[in-house]
């Protein structure tokens, strides 16, 4: 066996693409895990259709998984893949446009049959004409090789072919010098009850690895050294897992049991699934009959003194709006988690977007202010959930937590926090235990500091009281149609939320010398914006950058920050929702960069947007 040379790379982006049933998500996740354990920094972008299994070989059925791994800290799943693994013509066709010239394309040549080419709308076989000449195309008969490698198993041909994703994973593991042992162990554990399948998958995987070593198709392999991440214990985490863990941590750190009322909806269901597995943490999950009942039960639990949450996506928030308004009116803590997706209506269920900010801000009848928090990265979903719980419990208010499809399914290495370092929420939990107004109990007598009303839960003797969606008299909470009282209560509810600005950190600007342009973001655009600013600065462009976690209320210093720059650029995956809020609030002529493609921003397009704004300044 000849020893091939190993070439060092600092960063690589790979995309696996195939049929929805080809196991591309699993393949991508495995490669990600191994790369993370190897010490690379990693960012991922799963991209799959809403249909579970569209017809095999068809264009709508293509499922992709992109991952970016590097020997330094990275912020995005990468713009253009360096390597595309295409399991069939449809996967090639739907992904080839994203490649830069010089990229490597590994195709399963077995799948380029006349039928599959027709399904992918290819008139001629792209492997035989010049259409791919800009790329380094490597045709590998993946199906044939996989079936061959599994000759002595008892599986039939179809079952053998199904392991071709493991062959591809083996080949890529060789190509990028990934260790094989973790994947073999993982397969053994996954198929513990079906050793025959475990053996077959391992055989396909090791055959793929060996194929890379021996074939003449590849002259060398690559190595990506570990990244210099801050020391500590790390794990891989997705945004949805991080949100679920954040809720469990908030429950533990507040001393309250957790209740989640929800209804299955993409891309939020995994939060429900994750919490349903954590009953031994005292977590109770309720899959309701609809979105409205999910939030209704959560509000009921909140009244009963529980840390209550509901998880959904935009269409579900639309249905929950009336109950969120009730939570505003009765002033109870309630977490509303919106894992945003493309809209309007059913929109793009599996694609990402940031277009529910104004829904969170204004999507209710009447004057119904709700604090809003947004997570920046998959791992940050954990801390954002704890912060949302802190505000909800402290101020006795519903709180929106905005994540999105990109954060929900994207993974990154996450430094595991020490439990003792997490915020202590016990002091925020104050249950009423006796009269608060002379000898009486007034359910709407407010804490002078936070303006929160008492949290008096059923079962507490002597505090029997009634709450509801009718306007309440300031203090006593009795029904009141008094004009001045309604004015006062409206102002009090607004003031309570506005007052949160005093209890959140100021927005921090990462400045550059002489920067006249500030790039301001919120939510999942954090990574692409930071990556773009980093690149712009490397190109000598002076740019300042800041990111908002709190969107209602804004940090107290935000107006001052905006006014201290000649130009402010707000990139958003919507048509300018934060831009509108900022203009209305601060009368600053904020510029926007808006795109809604269902995918996160690329670094390149944001660098262009930054350059464009800077040209406008000179």
């Amino acid at each position: 066996m000849t020893t091939k040379t190993v070439e060092q790379r600092d960063t690589v982006t790979i995309r696996f693409a195939g049929d929805s049933g080809d196991g591309m998500q699993l393949t991508g996740n495995r490669f990600t895990s191994v790369s993370a354990v190897l010490g690379n920094d990693v960012a991922t972008l799963p991209d799959f259709p809403a249909e579970i299994r569209a017809p095999a070989g068809s264009l709508p059925g293509v499922s992709g998984f992109q991952l970016h791994f590097a020997d330094h800290d990275i912020l995005t799943p990468g713009d253009a893949p360096d390597v595309l693994v295409a399991m069939n013509p449809a996967a090639l066709r739907t992904n080839v446009e994203d490649l830069e010239p010089g990229a490597t394309v590994i195709v399963n040549s077995d799948a380029f049959s006349a039928g599959n080419l027709r399904k992918a709308r290819y008139d001629t076989n792209p492997l035989d004409d010049a259409s791919l000449s800009a790329f380094n195309v490597v045709s590998v008969p993946l199906s044939t090789l996989t079936v061959g490698a599994l000759d002595d198993t008892g599986l039939n041909k179809k079952e053998k072919e199904r392991a071709k994703n493991m062959f591809a994973l083996g080949l890529m593991s060789w190509m990028f010098s990934r260790p094989t042992e973790p994947t073999i162990e993982w397969v053994r554990a996954k198929f513990a009850s079906q050793p025959e399948l475990a053996d077959a998958n391992i055989s396909a995987f090791t055959a793929g690895f060996a194929f890379g070593e021996t074939t003449e198709l590849f002259a060398h392999s690559y190595e990506v050294a570990p990244a210099a991440l801050p020391p500590g214990r790390y794990r891989q985490i997705t945004g949805n897992t991080a949100i679920a863990y954040g809720l469990v941590a908030a429950a533990e750190r507040s001393g309250l049991p957790l209740f989640l009322g929800g209804y299955p909806i993409t891309p939020a269901s995994d939060v429900l699934h994750e919490l349903a597995r954590l009953k031994h943490f005292g977590v109770r999950t309720f899959q309701a009959e609809d979105e409205i009942a999910g939030v209704g039960a959560a509000l009921g639990a909140a009244f009963a003194g529980i840390l209550a949450a509901t998880v959904t996506s935009g269409p579900g928030v639309a249905l929950k709006a009336e109950t969120i308004g009730l939570a505003v009116s009765v002033e109870l803590p309630l977490l509303v988690l919106n894992i945003q997706r493309g809209g309007p209506s059913t929109g793009l269920p599996t694609k990402t977007e940031q277009s529910d900010l104004l829904q969170a801000m204004y999507g209710r009848n009447g004057e119904a202010p709700v604090p809003i928090i947004a997570a920046a990265t998959p791992g940050d979903c954990f801390y954002a959930a704890i912060e949302a719980a802190r505000l909800a419990v402290t101020y006795r208010t519903p709180v929106f937590l905005l994540s999105d499809g990109y954060l929900a399914n994207g993974a990154e290495p996450w430094r595991v926090p020490a439990v003792d370092d997490l915020p202590d929420l016990t002091s925020a939990v104050q249950f009423a235990d006796g009269p608060n107004h002379g000898g009486e109990f007034w359910p709407f007598q407010r804490d002078p500091e936070t303006l929160a009303r008492p949290w008096a839960t059923p079962g507490t003797p002597g505090l029997e009281h009634r709450i509801g969606g009718l306007e309440k008299a300031d203090g006593t909470g009795d029904i009141s149609y008094d004009p001045d009282n309604h004015q006062r209560m409206t102002e009090l509810r607004a003031a309570k939320v506005a007052r949160i600005a005093e209890a959140i950190p100021a927005v921090e600007v990462d400045r550059a010398e002489d920067a006249r342009l500030l790039v301001l973001g919120w939510g999942s655009t954090y990574g692409p914006i930071r990556a773009a600013v980093r690149r712009a600065r490397a190109d000598g462009l002076p740019v300042a950058v800041a990111h908002l976690r709190h969107l209602n209320p804004f940090p107290a210093n935000l107006g001052e920050v905006l006014r201290s720059y000649d130009r402010v650029l707000v990139p958003e995956m919507n048509s300018g929702q934060l831009q509108r809020l900022l203009r209305a609030e601060y009368l600053v002529d904020v510029q926007g960069y808006h795109r809604v493609t269902g995918l996160p921003f690329t670094t390149a397009e944001l660098v262009d947007a930054i350059s464009h704004e800077l040209k406008g300044l000179s």
Binding site: L278, R284, G300, A301, A418, G459, G469, L470
Partner: protein
């Protein structure tokens, strides 16, 4: 994990409680003559007999005339959203098994906008006592037809008569396999008290339809079946079903599978159907509910069905206990680290 039930608070109100202890200081705002007054008085009268501390009682309602009910009860109360009370109450009862949770609703609230939540609460057997005040009309919005109004009802929104076939609330409850289904009438004090008392002691969802007169928009809707009227059939478990001015009529099951009204002298008492409220199968109870679509023909009141089935909240909490027993109480640090962590030095 249900230690939230324990709060110091003031002392519980001293026992024995009286009806007066359950009257709140709020001015009752129903129309004079409304059937709701009698129901409120009855519920307030039943409460002291239950032996449940006042602080452990919660009344949840939606929107409508009936939904104002919690304001008048000196207990915990939540006047919520049109149709959603069963969902909100499910969240309370599932997380706090120590509480006794009531839902007070009307025919529009429960069967029109809230139909979905009602059937699912009953299907799950959430631990709730649901009181449906049926007046067969929308009162608070001033007189439109409701999902229980008789076909052809002339109202402001149906000047040529309503076109939609009405729901029979007891049939709906039985169709959703509620484990306790009863019907009573607003001013039949003893009967309603009896039904309420039995409902409260039931484990799971107890559903009572209460015929309630709206003297403004639908006066006299239930006059034909009120006390001592020949059309009222009182269901008694274990008794042959008889009714009429002199108990001269009865209900029998035909060989072809339908119920029929028979002359007792003609067929003999042995031919009558003996009411069995505890049959596992809800079919016969459903047939009884179909004797009359709206209370014009012979109409049964009383307990149609009471069976045992696991209770949603009890099971939800049992799963938590079982998970703790099996896996040990959750360790947050272990959860956060996960099985595949690595160390960067």
């Amino acid at each position: 994990m249900t230690d939230t039930s324990i709060r110091n608070g003031a002392a519980s109100a001293p026992l024995p409680l009286t009806k007066k202890d359950f009257s709140s200081d709020q001015e009752v705002r129903w129309c004079p003559g409304c059937g709701d007054y009698a129901i409120l008085a009855n519920v307030q009268g039943v409460m002291p007999t239950l032996g449940i501390p006042r602080e452990n009682l919660v009344f949840v309602s939606g929107i409508g005339c009936a939904a104002r009910f919690p304001y008048y009860m000196e207990t915990y109360g939540f006047h919520s959203i049109h149709g959603r009370a069963p969902a909100i109450a499910t969240g309370i009862s599932a997380t706090r098994p120590d509480l006794k949770v009531f839902v007070v609703t009307g025919d529009g609230d429960a069967l029109s906008i809230g139909g979905n939540h009602l059937i699912h609460a009953m299907r799950r057997n959430a631990n709730l006592t649901i009181l449906l005040f049926n007046n067969q009309i929308y009162g608070l919005t001033k007189g439109q037809y409701s999902p229980t109004s008789e076909l052809g009802k002339i109202t402001k929104s149906t000047p040529m008569g309503s076109l939609d076939h009405p729901f029979n609330p007891v049939s709906v409850a039985l169709g959703a396999e509620a484990t306790f289904v009863a019907r009573s009438i607003d001013n039949e004090r003893e009967h309603l008290t009896d039904m309420l008392t039995r409902a409260v002691s039931h484990e799971g969802t107890a559903f009572i339809e209460i015929y309630q007169n709206c003297n403004i928009f639908n006066d006299g809707a239930f006059d034909a079946v009120r006390k001592n009227r020949p059309q009222q059939i009182r269901l008694e478990h274990g008794q042959p079903i008889r009714f009429g001015a002199d108990d001269e009529l009865g209900v029998a099951l035909r060989r072809t599978g339908e119920l029929e009204i028979v002359d007792v002298d003609h067929v003999g008492e042995d031919a009558l159907l003996v009411h069995d409220a505890h049959r596992a199968d809800p079919g016969l109870a459903f047939m009884l509910s179909r004797l009359s679509h709206t209370p014009e023909g012979a109409t049964p009141i009383g307990l149609f069905r009471q069976v045992e089935r696991p209770v949603y909240g009890t099971q939800l909490n049992a799963q938590v206990d079982e998970a703790v027993a099996r896996r040990g109480a959750g360790d947050l640090a272990e959860l956060l680290a996960g099985p595949d962590s690595w160390t960067v030095n």
